[in-house]
């Protein structure tokens, strides 16, 4: 076995990132380059884009065509939704959520950013910080993306000049800290020629930092989740039934769910919310045997020491770290649906594994996505609007503020009559 065995068991981890940029900043070229240079492109895909490039009168393969999606979009020459790409290096597996830049932009980027650990924001070195850059950084920050990489592209068009990069970097740093970005990084690169994408290249010897890929391989985002308080939304109850069940499982009553944040160990005192009943962890069951402890984002089955009442929609937390509980919420929402918010309509709020009826009590303001200033909402929010609303819930909900915990601070709104997902919500406070 030897070498092959180590290939199978090597720990590489997983990183999810998004890419954002204005049209023509070179996002498609950059993704194509990352896939190509890390050998995430297959020969037959390359043949297909070479064919398409020739049809469009280009000499070499246009790497940006790789990220093109559906037929309808190819006909229009634009992409219209979030697409996922995969590649891996010996160190890590990567998932790119690519959201294209145009009028549906806010909604697509919010969607893509919701699961991202890192945002790569592209700029054209010649243009510097644009309104778009501010918007992308704002959305990344709003959605709780803790690591932002500013990729200053097209350095070849400014003669690979260090001064140009440094000036931009300084401006970006001031702005990123104002936007509340926890960790900001800066890489000067040329997606077209490949400098500092995967390999450093020879044209920017003054850049001592890592290349974009090196950075993505080393950012540690998993522990961001593990250090938070323990949160376990119960998905359902596992109770073996039937005449022929193994006697071992006769009294088994397990709570199935995923550890959304934090860690848990056998013996921990826990509370079940919203009821508030307390007990302790008797066992952490998995198919591969019981575990002494477990960490986010593992899916496990918890067994409790006492016969407390637990069902789908409940939240199990450590008794010493309980979240807030309220039937009223103030939240920032991004409206996703073509039909605008109508406070007279009935919406359902899905939070973790709990779904409750809500009423929109008040629309406090809208955020102008260009100026990032608050503006009056005039009683509604339309598709791609971001605004602050006040909700009244049919039943109280256990939650955290989104900026403290993504999993227990987020919700979606569903229109009860159309069943459409109409909004993404980030809880500010109760």
């Amino acid at each position: 076995m030897g070498a092959a065995e180590s290939f199978v068991s090597r720990e590489v981890g997983l990183l999810r990132f998004i890419t954002a940029g204005s049209v023509d900043d070179g996002k498609s070229t950059l993704i194509g380059r990352l896939l190509f240079d890390s050998k995430g492109i297959f020969e037959d895909q390359l043949t297909a884009i070479e064919r398409a490039s020739t049809r469009r009168g280009r000499a070499e393969a246009d790497l940006s065509l790789l990220t093109d999606g559906l037929q309808a979009e190819r006909e229009q020459g634009i992409t219209i939704d979030v697409a996922y790409r995969y590649f891996s290096t010996p160190r890590r597996k990567f998932i790119i959520a690519d959201s294209p830049g145009h009028e549906q932009y806010t909604r697509n980027m919010v969607t893509a950013a919701s699961t991202a650990q890192v945002a790569v924001i592209l700029l054209d070195a010649r243009n510097g910080i644009l309104t778009q850059t501010r918007r992308h950084t704002y959305i990344a920050s709003l959605l709780g993306v803790r690591h932002v990489v500013f990729a200053v592209n097209k350095m070849d068009l400014v003669d690979y000049a260090q001064a140009a990069f440094l000036a931009l970097r300084e401006e970006l740093a001031a702005f990123a800290s104002k936007a509340g970005i926890a960790h900001a990084w800066y890489v000067p690169l040329s997606a077209l020629h490949g400098d500092n994408v995967v390999e450093p290249g020879s044209r920017m010897p003054w850049h001592e930092g890592p290349t974009l890929l090196q950075l993505l391989e080393h950012i540690d985002a998993q522990h961001d989740l593990a250090v938070l308080p323990f949160r376990f939304p119960v998905q359902g109850v596992l109770r073996p039934t039937g005449a022929d069940i193994d006697r071992r499982w006769l009294d088994f009553r397990g709570y199935a769910g995923r550890i959304e944040s934090g860690t848990v160990a056998v013996g921990d005192r826990v509370s079940v919310l919203p009821s508030g009943a307390t007990t302790s962890i008797r066992a952490i069951h998995t198919l591969d045997g019981d575990l002494p402890d477990a960490t986010a984002p593992q899916s496990v089955t918890l067994l409790l020491a006492d016969p407390v009442d637990v069902s789908r929609g409940d939240l199990i937390v450590r008794t010493s770290e309980t979240p807030a509980l309220s039937a009223g919420l103030s939240a920032t929402v991004c409206w996703l649906d073509e039909t605008a918010l109508d406070p007279r309509r009935k919406y359902l709020l899905k939070h973790g594994t709990r779904t409750v009826k809500v009423l929109v009590e008040q629309i406090e303001h809208r955020v102008d996505i260009h100026s990032l200033e608050s503006t009056p909402a005039d009683g509604t929010l339309a598709a791609n609007d971001i605004g602050r609303i006040r909700l009244k819930l049919h039943k109280p909900l256990a939650f955290d503020a989104y900026r403290a915990n993504r999993a227990t601070g987020s919700f979606i709104l569903i229109d009860e009559t159309t069943n459409d997902t109409v909004a993404a919500g980030l809880i500010d406070h109760g």
């Binding site: 199978v8 997983l14 037959d44 939704d81 995969y86 250090v227 934090g262 960490t295 899916s299 979606i412």
Partner: protein, 310 residues
């Protein structure tokens, strides 16, 4: 996990990418089970659905699966795979429902243009009939986003209207891990728990879990014909033309679909580890190497999906 020599506290332990993908898939399977009224899991005996079965064990044991297994049998499947399918379902003690294209043909629901035609495109009809027959509101499938461009944008919970159709322009936004599972009578969901897995991940997982797969995934000698740069396996459905030469080659299958259009690749890999290694350095996509039907048009998968294909 837990392979580390020194005990680390749980917050210091780094989960491998397989651990993270596994946790996500288990979470998705449980959301289907606890939110949908009448789901089914599509099980073909192929490697992706074999992985799904293991994930379902991880999600629900010691209970039985909260859904039956469903196979849409084209009648063009490799006999080894069908035998494996039946045995695996029996070992797990789970209910397997089989609906065949031959029944649909007999009832006049499907009209083939010629008898030896590839049957993949017709699976949608039998599948949608089965969905209607049993009133399934969710079908769990093993499709992956890395397989094909049209899949790269598909949701994990993918909505189908009352005609079983997928509308790529009108998909529900999917944020965080909050899935909107609501459907009206007649509509249903397709759910893809391993959306974020690649072929490489699948083989790494099969190797890690030591999952049994049909023998034709491993290298074996087989009679093949070279056609359009691919190796067509000789069978009662695929016969050499006058000018073609039959060769015996050491091959393995990367997918195990319809015998008339699924091609093996040359290989001598006959352990899990060798397959993992071959997949790691492989330069051709799974579909490009193994499916004759997807090559005809760049957009053929998208068209089929819109009509209700997996």
């Amino acid at each position: 996990m837990n392979q580390l020599a020194e005990p680390l506290t749980s917050s210091e332990r780094t989960l491998s990418h397989l651990d993270v993908l596994e946790a996500e898939a288990i979470h998705i399977l449980r959301e289907v089970a606890f939110e949908c009224a009448n789901p089914a899991l599509l099980f073909s005996g192929g490697k992706d659905s074999i992985v799904l079965l293991r994930l379902a064990e991880k999600a629900f044991r010691p209970c039985g699966f909260p859904f039956p297994l469903l196979h849409i049998d084209t009648g063009h499947n490799f006999p080894e795979v069908i035998a494996f399918r039946d045995r695996r379902a029996a070992e797990l003690g789970e209910r397997l429902i089989v609906r065949t294209l031959d029944e649909s043909i007999a009832r006049g629901r499907i009209r083939l243009r010629h008898p030896a035609e590839g049957r993949n495109p017709y699976q949608s009809i039998t599948l949608l009939d089965a969905v209607e027959e049993f009133g399934f509101d969710a079908c769990i499938g093993g499709a992956r986003r890395d397989e094909e461009k049209a899949r790269a944008k598909e949701r994990i919970f993918s909505f189908r209207d009352e005609f079983g159709q997928w509308d790529p322009k009108n998909q529900r936004p999917e944020l965080w891990d909050l899935y909107n599972t609501r459907v009206r009578p007649g509509e249903h969901m397709r759910v893809f728990p391993i959306s974020n897995w690649t072929e490489f991940d699948i083989w790494q997982y099969i190797a890690r879990e030591r999952l049994e797969v049909p023998a034709i995934y491993f290298a074996h000698e087989r009679e093949v014909i070279r056609r359009n740069g691919q190796l067509a396996p000789v069978s009662h459905l695929v016969r050499p033309r006058e000018d073609e030469i039959v060769e015996r080659v050491s091959v393995r299958f990367r997918t195990v679909g319809d015998m008339t259009c699924t091609c093996p690749v040359e290989s001598t890999a006959w352990t899990y580890e060798e397959i993992v290694r071959e997949t790691a350095v492989c330069r051709i996509t799974e579909r490009g190497a193994t499916r004759m039907d997807d090559q005809t048009s760049e957009a053929s998968m998208e068209l089929r999906k819109k009509e209700g294909y997996f």
